[in-house]
């Protein structure tokens, strides 16, 4: 869209500031927790090759906490923040609706159906015996549920021209599945119900190392697909009709954007549960910060803002020992209300 022979200094400044902030918050996230660890020791635990054997600067326990627990959780916060924000941005542009988010297409309800079936059904099948099966099965069933529901929506969208019909379809499917999940909850035992409810609260800390190794490539693929969708997204700002007459294959672009969303929001939801409001609120923060509508700036911008916000939420949630979802909601809701009242034409 607009040309950058000499990049506007304002944009460059904000990007630099956000990158620095991300790094600082990442380190802070490693330092904060049940035990506070001074940043100097965090640094040593991370980067001293022999930190585990040489206890002169930092204790072995600290090294383990930083490397085995907090590093994973901070990495998850970073990735999930980026993923949810970028998928929310894409949904808002695609549906031309400032209140669209990563979950409008029913990803969260699809995932919750998968999880409900697994948590409530696995004990019956005797699958809970192995811990590994239990954790991978949980994420796997969530991912499968999200992907199946989105595939269903995408299938319908091949026949439907109007994007608003797809939006309504996604919402109705979500509600229908929500009802199914409620029935499952009603029929289930107390213990299974409890683990399901905990999943719905969302958590960045339950991701295991093997899961992280799935999460990283999935988020990277999703982000790469989002970058590939930059030009279609910019064209879609004018609406599908205009985009089409400017040569855009709207259906192919929609599929590309849906696929990106499965990888981003679907995977994060599978591993962390539905994390609310990040995908809804952060794209607005990026738009206001950069004063841009160009997705070449907004996609990396929203990714960085998302990382910053979710790292911050994680630090707060650890400080107050509250579930992450209550923090994202408490921070996100006022942000969304403010945005909606201040700017009526956002997308």
């Amino acid at each position: 869209m607009h040309v950058m022979k000499t990049p506007p200094s304002r944009t460059t400044w904000i990007f630099t500031a956000l990158a620095v902030l991300t790094l600082l918050l990442f380190m802070a996230d490693l330092a904060v927790g049940a035990v506070s660890i001074p940043l100097r020791e965090v640094w040593a635990a991370l980067f001293k090759a022999d930190a585990l054997t040489d206890a002169s600067t930092v204790s072995a326990g600290t090294v383990l906490i930083v490397r085995r627990i907090r590093l994973i959780k901070a990495a998850v916060a970073l990735l999930a923040g980026m993923a949810l924000s970028v998928s929310g941005l894409q949904m808002q542009t695609l549906f031309r609706n400032p209140l669209a988010g990563p979950y409008v297409l029913g990803i969260s309800s699809g995932a919750s159906l998968g999880v409900a079936l697994f948590i409530l059904g696995a004990p019956i099948l005797g699958l809970t015996a192995h811990a590994a099966v239990a954790t991978l099965g949980l994420a796997g069933s969530a991912w499968l549920g999200a992907a199946l529901l989105l595939a269903l929506v995408a299938l319908v969208s091949r026949r439907v021209k109007d994007i608003m019909v797809i939006l309504i379809l996604g919402m109705m499917l979500s509600s229908g599945i929500g009802a199914l999940v409620q029935i499952l909850q009603y029929l289930s035992h107390e213990n299974a119900l409890k683990s399901f409810v905990i999943w719905t609260m969302g958590s960045l800390g339950d991701v295991t190392v093997p899961q992280l190794w799935l999460l990283i490539p999935a988020v990277l693929i999703g982000l790469a697909l989002a970058v590939a969708a930059v030009k279609p997204l910019n064209m879609l700002l004018l609406g599908e009709d205009y985009a089409r007459t400017m040569g855009l294959n709207v259906r192919r672009s929609r599929r590309l954007i849906f696929l990106s969303t499965v990888f981003l929001a679907g995977t994060v939801t599978a591993f962390c549960g539905p994390i609310g409001f990040i995908g809804l609120a952060v794209p607005h923060v990026a738009r206001m910060l950069f004063r841009e509508a160009d997705h070449r700036i907004l996609i990396p911008g929203a990714a960085l803002c998302g990382a910053v916000v979710l790292l911050l939420c994680d630090i707060i949630s650890k400080g107050l020992t509250l579930p992450i979802n209550s923090i994202t909601a408490l921070l996100g809701i006022p942000m969304v209300i403010w945005v909606v009242i201040r700017h009526k034409n956002i997308v």
Binding site: M1, H2, V3, V227, A228, V230, K231, N234, M235, L237, L238, G239, D241, Y242, R244, T245, M246, G247, L248, N249, R287, F290, R291, E292, A293, D294, R296, H343, N345, I346, V347
Partner: protein
């Protein structure tokens, strides 16, 4: 140039247009008139390849529309519809730059000639001073001009507009009609737009295409008042509105 050859349009058993033939040459401004629901929008949508004809053929610059790839089509026809684009943070020059989408690479990188086309389009529509304004802070008339500038930046021989005057007040309508006539004549474009403004169609256009039942009449604008076609299509309302007596 647009050429309609025995075109039939409609939905299922319902025919909107039958056996429509016309030639709209380059360098001419043609208005498309007709009652509500007579098929004006359907005809325009057919010309951008979004409505399949039930019969007959459309040729754009000599080539059958059905043989033109979407990529080529985007370099042949530009379209301006009535959708309001009011996106915050979206600058006018960015909207016009999107008109270069058929020419730019996968991420939309603008080259020097793309920049030049955007500047030229903004100048031609008299919107150069608005380049850095955002779309949510513009009047309807200004927005419409930006969308036309975007169509110009697309550098197509044909420009179609669906009711471009509909949200505009009287002075803005005439301004817009004059701008379209000027673009058609000076840039040698074939411009075809649907409208309900009989006066603009007759005063500023070279030709008029009038949908009368399932027939499409294509006449030079000067001949239309004497043809009796307007009375046939619009009936008593013509006399009541006073347009008729002015035309005579």
């Amino acid at each position: 140039m647009i050429r309609l050859e025995n075109l039939r349009l409609g939905y299922g058993q319902r025919h909107l247009l039958d056996d429509a033939s016309a030639i709209l040459p380059a360098g001419s401004l043609t208005a498309l008139l007709g009652r509500n629901g007579s098929g004006k929008s359907t005809l325009l949508r057919a010309l951008i390849g979004q409505e399949r004809p039930q019969g007959g053929r459309i040729r754009l610059n000599g080539q059958p529309l059905s043989d033109i790839s979407p990529e080529r089509l985007a370099r042949t026809v530009a379209f301006v519809n009535t959708a309001r684009v009011r996106v915050a943070n979206l600058r006018c020059k960015d909207v016009v730059a999107l008109g270069r989408a058929p020419y730019t690479n996968w991420i939309g990188r603008m080259q020097a000639q793309d920049e030049a086309a955007v500047r030229e389009a903004l100048t031609m529509t008299g919107m150069a001073a608005y380049a850095d304004r955002t779309m949510d802070k513009m009047s309807d008339g200004e927005c419409q001009r930006i969308m036309i500038a975007r169509a110009l930046a697309q550098q197509t021989p044909i420009i179609l507009l669906d009711e471009p005057t509909s949200f505009l007040d009287l002075p803005n309508r005439y301004e817009l009609g004059r701008l379209l006539a000027q673009l058609a004549h000076e840039q040698n474009k074939c411009i075809f737009f649907s409208t309900h403004e009989l006066d603009i169609a007759l005063a500023l256009c070279d030709a008029v295409a009038l949908i009368d039942g399932q027939h499409l009449h294509h006449r030079p604008a000067a001949e239309l008042p004497e043809s009796g076609l307007l009375e046939k299509v619009f009936g008593d309302s013509l006399r009541l509105s006073g347009i008729y007596s002015n035309l005579r």
